[in-house]
């Protein structure tokens, strides 16, 4: 029985006996509502733990949380900012969720994001297209370049994993550091704006359309910086859902993820799927990078990612790899990042993210075991 070593040891006294017995046994069936409940519950527990840490560190957790909620969802203006932060998160979250389905640990979304941003910038700055190219041609080319560069950055570890069994966790992570240095090399030199550590501003035709651009027609949109990148996230979530849940390829991906040996036995080409999936995952993360610089930053610089690539890992896991849940969780985390910018100490959002992920995976034990408390 698996439960033995986990069961709580009731008070060891001789005379008095604990009036309840707690037993832990494996769960045979999982009710449909349970995973969602556990995710929400884990989130709650995480905020309590985070609050305790904040209190210990000398902060007022309630005030900080109240501030977080106000500064993320308080009014239409800040909610706009939250959605702007959520847009890249959706894409990197989906990139991670897709790869994790196959138990392919793509920890490199951050680097693929940077390469995607670099590729999209190259279209404008190299320049691949003349500066006055109409947006209708400029934007799709930037998207293509971003996706291609992200995909290439994903393919390198994917190829090494598929052909030589090189651990993709470490390689994707190392590729992150390389990607950041690569981008810095360009913004400090070739593409630097008169010596500053950033490229010149992109021309307007290389900007993704924003709500505020339509303020002339709809006055309510004035000042809202939400850009078309959020549509990329929504569309890709449907695509990822279709791939994983409705396509033959998705079936192979899930088969490999659940049981590699069985997949191999069934004739699934694992090497090919590994490379393909790393490319698609990297491409999605690359699209996130493109959307961020074409929609928000409008230039290439070193600081373009609020740790988006790593947050995507947490989002994917909290969403239980469900592409639609990724959208929801991204909005939540977008709020956390948005509101956390003004909070001191600056590590609070990242610490909360870590605690959330930890609580979520710890909470998963309740999917595998049930705890029964019965009267003696």
């Amino acid at each position: 029985m698996t439960g033995q070593e986990m069961s709580a040891n009731p008070v060891g006294g001789q005379g008095w006996q604990f009036p309840f017995s707690i037993s832990i046994e494996p769960r045979l069936t999982v009710p449909k509502w349970l995973p969602a409940l556990i995710s929400v519950g884990s989130l709650g527990v995480a905020f309590v733990i985070g609050g305790i840490v904040l209190a210990v560190a000398g902060g007022n957790p309630l005030a900080i949380y109240a501030h977080l909620i106000r500064a993320a969802f308080g009014d239409i203006g800040v909610f706009n900012d939250t959605l702007v932060k959520a847009s890249p998160l959706m894409l990197v979250g989906l990139a991670c969720a897709l790869a994790f389905r196959m138990k392919l640990w793509n920890i490199g979304a951050e680097g693929q994001f940077f390469l995607g941003a670099w590729g999209a910038s190259a279209v404008v700055l190299a320049p691949i297209l003349p500066r006055d190219t109409p947006a209708i041609l400029m934007i799709p080319t930037m998207m293509l370049a971003g996706v291609a560069c992200g995909a290439l950055w994903g393919l390198i570890p994917g190829f090494l994993k598929a052909k030589f069994n090189v651990n993709e966790i470490i390689t994707t992570l190392m590729m992150n550091y390389i990607a950041v240095s690569w981008v810095l090399f360009w913004v400090f030199g070739e593409w630097s704006e008169s010596g500053f550590q950033m490229s010149p501003m992109f021309p307007r035709n290389a900007w993704l359309p924003r709500l505020t651009d339509y303020a002339a027609q709809i006055p309510q949109f004035a000042g809202l910086t939400l850009h078309a990148g959020i549509l990329f996230g929504l569309i890709v979530s449907v695509v990822v859902w279709f791939i994983t849940s409705r396509s033959r390829w998705g079936y192979e991906i899930r088969l490999i993820g659940d049981n590699k040996e069985a997949a191999r036995y069934a004739g699934v080409d694992i090497a090919r799927n590994t490379m393909l999936l790393m490319m698609v995952s990297g491409g999605i993360a690359g699209l996130a990078g493109m959307a961020e610089i074409a929609g928000v930053v409008h230039r290439l610089q070193g600081a373009i990612s609020n740790n988006y690539g790593f947050t995507g890992i947490i989002i994917a896991w909290l969403a239980k790899l469900n592409p639609f849940a990724v959208i929801l969780v991204s909005v939540l985390f977008g709020g956390l990042i948005q509101a956390g910018r003004e909070i001191q100490p600056s590590g609070v959002p990242r610490m909360l993210q870590g605690i959330i992920l930890f609580c979520v995976i710890a909470g998963d034990v309740l999917l595998r075991y049930r705890i029964q408390i019965t009267r003696r």
Binding site: I178, G347, D364
Partner: protein, 323 residues
């Protein structure tokens, strides 16, 4: 001119950091638990050590607290991955995020703390007189470096030549058989995950109190925890190979800093001096090299059919059939 002796000497010191972390991870992985949280644990260690040194001016106590703090963090991973049977990859990543976030929160303001007492440096009397090796290995090193010299053979001897080491390997290769032999799989795994955390904390403390003193938030470790994990795979879980890799990467780290200084390099105009942004390629070097050595290591492992401990990453569930 580049002072090669100085580079190697500093390389040994910064390689010691990687060595501690890698040997800690070897211990944990040999027992069957992969802990990807090394970077986070090192950061917690670095922050705790430095904060303690700032607060009570006792670097040694700082190291002790660093080991404890990282050890406690690793126990979270142990509970979740050993008893809750969570995916060790994700749990390790969670440890990382918690470690990074927590050390950023608790390390707030530490970067402006001013001067603190660091670990002393020691020159070994007779050994430092040996030509070439003396200045590199035994001159002006902090005590942790000397501990590192002892740790490698000790870890190897422990794993391969002692009874507890045999148990450690048994638990990582075939926990069911080990259990049948009367070894407490769970207790050993907890112990070695904790040991790995303690060593990662020591590695972090060694950074902030000796190798590159101070607290620079995430940049304090700048990926060294991940490099250590890469070294473990490259080393095929062997402390000697891990040590060779650690010192090599330590020297490389130092070399990269020093290459950008002089105006001439091997008699030619130094491109890194005249075009500083080429330095970004130098900064990529350690990370690219990790990928390269992993590639070499994997080919070798395929050829020689050696690999990870068989039960690495697999939770042991007592009573279930399994390996």
């Amino acid at each position: 001119m580049i002072d090669w002796i100085a580079i190697l000497q500093a390389g040994i010191a910064s390689g010691t950091v990687l060595l501690f972390a890698a040997i800690g991870e070897i211990m944990a992985e040999r027992s069957g638990v992969m802990n990807l949280g090394v970077e986070g644990m090192m950061l917690i260690g670095a922050m705790t050590a430095y904060r303690t040194a700032v607060t009570i001016d006792q670097p040694w106590v700082g190291l002790l607290f660093a080991m404890l703090a990282a050890g406690i963090l690793s126990l979270l991973h142990a509970v979740v991955s050993i008893h809750f049977q969570a995916d060790q990859v994700v749990s390790g990543l969670a440890i990382n995020f918690v470690g990074i976030g927590l050390s950023m929160v608790l390390g707030e303001g530490l970067s402006k703390a001013g001067a603190v007492s660091l670990l002393p440096t020691i020159t070994v009397p007779l050994l430092s007189q040996i030509p070439v090796l003396g200045p590199i290995l035994f001159t002006n090193h902090n005590p942790m470096t000397y501990l590192g010299y002892a740790l490698t053979p000790a870890a190897w001897f422990y794993i391969h030549r002692t009874r507890p080491g045999l148990h450690l390997r048994a638990v990582g290769e075939h926990p069911a058989a080990a259990d049948a032999m009367g070894i407490n799989v769970y207790r050993l795994r907890y112990g070695y995950v904790f040991a790995g955390g303690v060593l990662a904390g020591l590695a972090g403390g060694t950074i902030s109190l000796a190798v590159s003193p101070g607290w620079f938030s995430e940049l304090t470790t700048s990926g060294q925890g991940w490099i250590a994990i890469g070294l473990v795979i490259f080393a095929q879980w062997n402390p000697w190979r891990a040590a060779a890799g650690a010192y090599m990467f330590g020297a490389l780290r130092r070399l990269i800093l020093d290459l950008q200084g002089p105006q001439t390099l091997l008699g030619f105009a130094n491109p890194f001096f005249y075009t500083p942004r080429l330095g970004f390629f130098l900064q990529m070097l350690p990370y690219a090299l990790v990928i390269l050595i992993l590639f070499i290591g994997s080919r070798e492992a395929m050829k020689k059919r050696v690999g990870a401990p068989a039960a690495l990453g697999v939770p042991y569930i007592r009573g279930e059939r399994g390996t």
